[in-house]
Amino acid sequence: MDETIISKKEIPQQTEVDVVNQFTGERWYYSDIVKDHFFNPRNLLLKDPAEGEFDAYGMVGSPACGDVMTVWLKIDSESTRIKDLRWRTFGCGSAIAATSIFSVMVTEDGGRTIDEALGIKPQHIMERLGGLPNRKIHCSVLVDKAFHKAINDYFRKTGQFDKIMVAGSKVIDPKLNITDKDIEEAVLEGAVDLDGVQKKLKVGIGSPEIITEVEQLIRFYKEKYYG
């Protein structure tokens, strides 16, 4: 049948099934590059970092399956090149491989600049990995998002508030570029009142007109997560 020929073309050079779902029998395959990075991960953070050892930090979780990825960055402030990216990932084989290869892509050839690195999209990671099973993409390739978070953290720490990226959320504090998402995160981290949130975000300091809205959001997220 033609169908089988087509499906064989879609997954070249892969003959071995890596994972078979126990309930559905669905199979998926990992490329040799994926396997290499899974079995020999690069740039892993081995020891917990000392205070101030890294310039920025970002963590993101996959809403689909619960995978969690964290990245730590060292950035050259003059050239904005990423001098080091270390990571840890709680997730499946492809999640680990995607994080590992991203760490290579960002730091190779003397390190990409922040702008160059932000240009790395999930499809570039996919290409470098030699492809991923379709339904594994959205949950595995989260490292670019963790990286964005870390870069925002860097901008915040270095006072470059105007550069903070706020895609997909609403800016609450225009001076510091703080979004509803940031406030949600602070609440989830355990800040349950304005004081607590301000300790983390400095939100509304210098902009008293937004305090009511911030307090409303804190109440909303507190209700949402802690009942």
């Binding site: 779902n21 126990q22 809403p63 840890r88 709680f90 084989g93 339904r135």
Partner: protein, 430 residues
């Protein structure tokens, strides 16, 4: 990448499926080519086939302790369970539209019940305790005057927990008597999927008090694609597909004689060797549990320590993710399974581990080892030689550091603002 040649292979996924016992294969052999007749035919080859099917039915009936007429063969336990749910529910829906099941059923029941809700049936889930045992009082509380089916698996496929089926059977009997006294005409039927229990537990349907009972060929060293179902006299089942009216007009389609014969022989052998093999495996099971929980730090046994299948070991190795472990072990020739979201089609973590009141990280970290006929102590020693190394490596990769008694998601902030549907102890993070 270094390509390792596999020196040893250890299959520890017998709950997924088993190999065919060579003795079963021999018994099946004549019915593929020599005695290929259709049991419905009146001439000699047909009669030979019919005799084989009826002989198989009698063999199964003997083990179930029921009449041969009460045994139905279907193409696998998924079909049988669907018949038990849809067939029974639809045939009696004018009398009641409420069904109860446990929170840790196999996907066949969960998804069937999800589908039947669209036919205006109501479904309740009876909770289990921290060790996965159904709470009988909660089950009883959930029974309503219009409840027509109670479906509880005999033993759980993931954590091996054995449910008090005979006690539930007694409860159902009492409810039936109470209804009779109250003039309530609504019948209540007790269905139990025994796919995992067969070969290890008593399958006497009279002692268990079940009305619908399902055993699969593929889990007992029999052929795949065949199951035997007990349907108690008086339980009406509306077919879910239509044809020539075979199997008491419940399950149409020409009988697969070799599979039916193989199924019966596999069940006969399983029952014959049940006690001896269960004792052997229980010892190996406890040996593996002890080594896992003492030699690998932060390893928690999932399920009940004693009320569990003799071949089931399920642990959560905290801070790591199951698919990664499976791939690392696969590279060393060890084959196991996990309740991690990463290996499920829906990307949902195991509902069974979550039903025990654990955070999703425990489901992600769950590893299931199911032993079988050919499993030896040496196999388990090999696992314990390889696994601790793999765990050390994967823990290095993981950013998590859960405490043993932690019941909350460790980094909810990581999911903020993404429309997350990570569930924790009944709480959904959105």
């Amino acid at each position: 990448m270094e390509i390792k040649s596999i020196v040893k292979e250890v299959y520890l996924d017998h709950a997924a499926t088993t190999y065919l016992d060579p003795r079963v294969k021999i018994v099946m052999e004549p019915y593929w080519e020599a005695d290929f007749g259709n049991p419905a035919a009146l001439y000699r080859p047909g009669r030979i086939a019919k005799d084989a099917v009826e002989g198989a039915r009698a063999t199964v009936a003997k083990i179930f302790n029921c009449r041969a007429d009460d045994v139905i063969f279907t193409a696998g336990s998924t079909e049988a369970d669907n018949l038990a749910i849809f067939g029974t529910a639809r045939a009696h829906q004018h009398l009641g539209k409420h069904i109860i099941t446990s929170a840790i059923e196999h996907h066949v029941i969960m998804n069937s019940l999800d589908a039947i809700k669209k036919e205006d049936f109501e479904v309740s889930f009876a909770p289990v305790d921290e060790e996965g045992i159904l709470k009988l009082d909660e089950l009883e509380k959930n029974i309503r005057p219009d409840t027509i089916i109670v479906s509880v698996m005999y033993a759980n496929n993931e954590i091996g927990t054995i449910q008090p089926i005979a006690e539930i059977g007694k409860l159902i009997k009492r409810i039936r008597e109470e209804r009779k006294a109250a003039g309530n005409q609504t019948p209540i039927f007790f269905h139990s999927d025994a796919a995992q229990a067969a070969g290890f537990l008593d399958l006497d349907v009279q002692k268990l008090g079940v009305d619908l009972f399902v055993v699969s060929g593929s889990k007992i060293y029999g052929p795949k694609g065949i199951a035997a179902m007990f349907v108690r006299q008086g339980v009406r089942i509306k077919p879910i597909f239509y044809g020539g009216g075979q199997e008491r007009n419940i399950r149409s389609g020409t009988e697969s004689v070799p599979l039916i014969v193989g199924m019966a022989e596999a069940l006969r052998l399983a029952d014959e060797e049940r006690e001896k093999e269960s004792a052997r495996l229980a010892e190996l099971r406890d040996y593996l549990i002890k080594r896992l929980t003492t030699e690998i730090p932060k390893t928690i046994l999932n399920g009940h320590p004693i009320k569990r299948l003799p071949n089931n070991v399920n642990v959560s190795v905290l801070d790591i993710e199951g698919e990664g472990v499976i791939l690392y072990l696969d590279a060393e020739g060890i084959y196991i399974s996990t309740g991690s979201a990463c290996t499920s089609l829906t990307l949902d973590p195991s509902h069974v581990i979550l039903a025990l009141g654990r955070p999703y990280e425990h489901a992600h970290a769950s590893l299931r080892f199911t032993l079988g006929k050919r499993t030896t102590k040496e196999d388990l020693d090999y696992v314990m030689e390889v696994l601790p190394r793999v765990v050390v490596k994967l823990r290095q990769i993981s950013p998590l550091n859960l405490s043993m008694d932690q019941r909350e998601v460790s980094h909810p902030e990581a999911f903020a603002g993404q429309g997350s549907r990570v569930k924790v102890g009944g709480k959904t993070y959105k």
